[in-house]
Amino acid sequence: MQRSSRLETLYDAHAAGVFHYLNGIVKSEADAKDLLQEFFIKLAARELPPLENERAYLLRIAHRMAIDWLRRHGARERAESTHPQAVFATPVDPDAAKLSREVETALHALPPEQRSIAEMRLWHGLTFEQIAEVQRIPLNTAASRFRYALEKLRSLLQPLYDEIRP
């Protein structure tokens, strides 16, 4: 079967980002993988318009799916991971590797609504306008949640960052 090159291109460019975003919300790799599968089934079933910002468009779909998933699975049913998820590729440099592990731990400590915004801003490169659109929240809320998230990350990570900073 001739694979849709558009779908494959989208997978290569965005699957990891979408997976980590979903994982940050549902806090379970197995469920995030199931949702990623469902996400690509949805994409395969629809005709995608030309997109100005693919990542923002895809994260909007992923966000809605994750919220639906949270509604479907009650708090008791969810098997949330109590350990920080592995979000980042392990850098070769030991100091950078240590920082990445600490950032994962710090991210895990953030409230989900702050974590998802921090991820979108820092690692998906979205603007506050795009974040507000993805999560359907006011622009100021997106900006202030990011500020709180960054302050918390800074308070948790600044000592290590100061120690390893060249």
């Binding site: 997978y11 690509f40 994409l43 980042f88 820092l122 960054l150």
Partner: protein, 96 residues
């Protein structure tokens, strides 16, 4: 709205997201393409046409006078001559 990142923010941005296991790609894309396609797809044009049709129906409904508002005949009821004759012969019929 863009504010320049400070050093700390920049250091965080340098971390790259972990890649997914390579075998997921084949698995996920194959399942996505073999999944049954939905029979009904939302179509913006179709929804717009439905909305327009409903607006027309609603407008016509609002503009059409209700039966109770239709002008009623103002003249007194006309009795057939035979009926008048019968009533004249038997006035007791008019009594309650």
């Amino acid at each position: 709205m863009k504010t320049p990142p400070d050093d700390f923010e920049h250091a965080l941005q340098q971390l790259s997201l972990r890649k997914l296991p390579a075998h997921w790609k084949q698995e996920i894309l194959t399942q996505a393409e073999n999944a049954p396609k939905p029979f009904w797809r939302p179509n913006r044009l179709l929804y717009t046409a439905f909305a327009a049709a409903w607006t027309v129906i609603l407008t016509l409904n609002l503009l059409t006078p209700k039966p109770e508002n239709l002008p009623q005949a103002q003249t007194a009821p006309v009795f057939a001559p035979n009926s008048l004759f019968a009533l004249h012969q038997h006035p007791d019929l008019l009594l309650p």
